[in-house]
Subunit: 139 residues, 2 copies
């Protein structure tokens, strides 16, 4: 046993156990969303997201969104989609989203990103991104 | 300050900080995947995944897949897709996937799930599920 090498491992394991306890006390809500993206706007959309505006990223975190990824895929000759996955750690998703929508920097960001996107034909009346159904989860 | 209420909060924060240090030392690799699903097989696919076989779930974990979700969405009149998100915490993804593919229980599971799915027209030659491009991530 070498304390110098085993101590970090032990500390990490202890932290993981503690955090697992905290997490199970209030597990995040998972969200999967989808939207179409216009082929002619692909590059601009990618450029924007390669260097997202700091104020927008801060607002995402302030509104309790964590581990947020967006994926891009061309699924057939004519259709490109964006898929997002994120975890919500707050207590009132609607309230936090309303707060985000009021942020001037976020509004400017959406003025750039909205024209890149096309809601899917099956979107609900109040949806921009469409919520997907979770059919499986494994920790 | 009430020690009984603040101590758990302090411990959770300390655990989160410690684990953040561990995680940055070896962050998981994120994967987003997509595949088509046959409308006539939707219900069977959902039934299977509502009660996944324990041996299949164990093999997923043994192969270092964590936080694995599958989402389902009808995007237009004719197309239903499955989107998956997971985190890989191992050292050799190809090796772990080869191990999974050799597992008899997983093979039996895939005999049930494969006929439900249709790889997208743009899939790579060696793909069943198609890998998507990550264009944004925020912790």
């Amino acid at each position: 046993m070498n304390l110098r090498t085993t101590l970090p491992t032990v500390l990490c394991a202890a932290a993981a156990l503690l955090l697992a306890g905290c997490a199970s006390a209030r597990a995040p809500q998972r969200y999967g969303m989808v939207i179409g993206v216009k082929p002619e706007k692909l590059e601009y959309y990618k450029e924007l997201h390669a260097k997202p505006w700091p104020g927008v990223v801060k607002m995402i975190r302030d509104c309790n969104i964590r581990n947020y990824s967006i994926y891009l895929k061309q699924v057939d000759e004519q259709h490109w989609y964006l898929f997002s996955y994120f975890e919500y750690t707050g207590k009132d998703f609607k309230k936090d989203m309303a707060r985000m929508a009021k942020d001037p920097e976020t509004q400017r960001w959406w003025k750039e990103t909205d024209p890149c996107q096309t809601p899917i034909p099956t979107h609900a009346r109040d949806e921009w991104w469409s919520k997907m159904e979770e059919v499986f989860h494994s920790e």
